[in-house]
Symmetry: C2
Subunit: 419 residues, 2 copies
């Protein structure tokens, strides 16, 4: 335990020192590091796959479930994907140092804001080795130092990836300590990481809800986090029903296990009889289990009764809760009560109702006539994302490079003093 503390303090000190160098690194140097890491991942892919096979074998022996083994497993294709992701990050514009809103004040000083890195970013994630490369790339490009703590099942895979990251940093003349991958599976390391205020500026937990809830509870450092994704589609009485069916189908069935999938469908009473039977036939054909309120069940007999708990639930599975509402007000009230402020969409042709929904629904992404599945860093044009924030401060929604930066004030004077 004392050893872990000393080890983590050392990691923290090194990260802080490296962050000062990274903050000043120029764009070409950072991009060179990214492309060198990509090259190392590809040239070292055999070693990477061997290390990963070792993790996978141990995970299977320990009875890890298939879905988790699947996420842990690397293939030649996923390694190429990691390398490609880093090359894409290299292509993104460098935000650091950009000055905006520079203007003269009556005192004669010029005031503006300069975009700067946050400093040291601690990322805690489950056994998905590709996150190691992604997170390293995003932190590097945004001029931050990173401390990465992946799931213990991926230890050897992550250390292999770390070796490639370090080779790339070295080749670009940047400090290897700019990206440190924690070399112990001791859980005390996490406890240390999320409380080292002097060395870490922000924690980004990625993974299941219980991991994130626990880290948020125990952290003494700001956390950028994603909790639930209880996303809604509301089909208004003035919806174009073809759009409504296409969107509600896609939002639920395009992928089930993702945070931006719809979990509850709200339908305006006056169109429920027209839209629900058609739509539910699509769901049932795709083996989606339906749980509805009384009005919905009156229209679709293959629907079981939803309980109060269902309205709060992020299924992440082929299950959908369905509720018939009087109209827009009741839909907005339902979302305010049961939603998780992630992503909600209205389908309507009515201008005023669309505008009200956009303004009044307090979620990180609010949409009109589009599938909730679009709530994603790539789809929004951020280039890449470190996660989706359901917090209100700092960053809401998909968090890309900008979310890993902040702005300081810069003042250009010519000798002004305050009077």
């Amino acid at each position: 335990m004392e050893d872990i503390k000393a080890y983590m303090q050392q990691v923290g000190r090194q990260a802080r020192a490296a962050s000062r160098i990274m903050a000043q690194a120029d764009t070409a140097t950072k991009n060179r590091a990214l492309t060198e890491i990509a090259a190392a991942l590809q040239s070292q892919s055999v070693q990477l796959l061997v290390a990963n096979a070792r993790d996978v074998a141990a995970a299977r022996d320990n009875g890890l479930d298939d879905a988790s083994v699947d996420r842990l497993t690397l293939t030649e294709k996923t390694v190429r994907g990691m390398a490609e992701g880093l090359r894409q990050i290299a292509q993104l514009p460098d935000l650091i140092g950009a000055i905006s809103d520079l203007s003269y004040r009556p005192s004669g000083i010029q005031v503006g804001r300069m975009r700067v890195p946050l400093g040291v970013i601690g990322i805690i994630y489950e056994s998905r080795p590709n996150v190691t490369a992604d997170a390293a790339g995003l932190c590097l490009k945004s001029g931050n130092a990173a401390i990465l703590r992946g799931g213990s099942e991926a230890l050897h895979s992550n250390q292999s990836i770390a070796a490639c990251v370090h080779a790339g940093l070295r080749a670009a003349g940047l400090p290897e300590t700019a990206v440190q991958v924690i070399a112990t599976t001791d859980r005390a390391a996490v406890g240390e990481l999320i409380t080292m205020k002097d060395y870490v500026d922000v924690i980004v937990p990625r993974g299941g809800k219980s991991l994130i809830a626990r880290i948020s509870e125990e952290a003494r450092i700001p956390v950028i986090k994603h909790l639930d994704g209880v996303c809604h589609v509301y089909i208004d009485d003035e919806a174009d029903l073809d759009k409504a069916i296409r969107i509600a189908d896609n939002a639920k069935t395009h992928r089930y296990g993702v945070c931006n999938a719809m979990e509850t469908l709200l339908v305006a009473q006056s169109v429920a009889a027209k839209v629900l039977p058609r739509l539910c036939k699509i769901y049932l054909d795709k083996n989606v289990e339906l749980r509805g309120d009384e009005a919905a069940r009156a229209l679709v007999k293959q629907m079981s009764a939803a309980t109060e708990e269902d309205w709060f639930t992020e299924y992440l599975a082929p299950i959908l809760a369905v509720r018939v509402v009087a109209g827009l007000d009741e839909a907005i009230a339902h979302i305010a009560t049961y939603g998780s402020q992630h992503t909600d969409s209205i389908v309507t042709e009515n201008y005023s109702k669309a505008m009200r929904f956009l303004r009044e629904v307090d979620s990180s992404s609010v949409m009109v006539n589009a599938s909730t599945r679009f709530a994603d860093g790539f789809e929004y044009g951020l280039g890449a994302e470190i996660g989706i924030s359901t917090d209100k401060l700092h960053a809401r929604g998909p968090v890309g490079l900008e979310g890993l930066t902040s702005q300081k004030y810069v003042v250009f004077g010519t000798g002004q003093v305050r009077t």
Copy 2:
């Protein structure tokens, strides 16, 4: 204790409900409330001054120090000032609902960001009744609900101001619960306020360092805070010495007890003999105590020896630490080691050194050829400030209306689904 918990939970529930209404309030309604509150403060000024006199008398009986009594005391002039401040907030542009960066994506959706209130803001401050009006005004204009907890010595003053705030909200048709002033001096109320995650979105503590440190430690809600203001002026060897003397004088002596006053002066070795004697004569004439390193003391005999502790100290008093450095690198290193990331200024005519200082010093305000005293919401053109943040996430430096808001993503579609 149980009563306090129940009371605060009730306050929290009411604030959350009010925040939904405030988020939708239009600009004219919010401005009307602000001007009505201003009018109420002036028409009720006699009652206000009577309530304040009661607080002041009790504070004197309890042996409160003169400076604190001074901050507690209201006069006709300060009441007019509060009213004027609210009218100025009414004049500021309304940021809420503004959509920026709206652009089409290859999928056909249009993605932008809408500025939205944070929700419920808890403000904890010392016995300065004018903060009650200021904070209420800023939260109101930014579409937030506020829970205000002022120092116990100001209880009657704050309740009087609250009555005016409520009258103004009522007159504008807004809920009185949009601004709630805690009616108990029990410290348990603070403990409750800073942990009511479901009802409060952010805590802004204003006051002494120990108050802020304690609240940050115990809060389970994000905090926008200001810790130390150990501000530096670095006089470079290529400085215009007249500007240098004017700026270094102003930064230290314009006001002593403020967070943006210079606390440590750094001077490049090669100009120290030219600038320090002239400058220190000014300080000594103004009774500023000087504490220097050996090189500085060799030039100014009325200087005592600075200890390691001095470099870390925010004096908030007519005391100045002085250090002679080799040049820019040593100045930047000193600021990184001893500074508090608040405000630092370089005086130089050299372009490259000015640019390096701006980029490399990691403080919320970094200046060239200007007094640190400019680090202020009004001077920066924010119109008003709720405080100065020394945090890195969300808001750095002076925090005005924008710091009390966030941005959500809005998506305008025409039936798009993800493929």
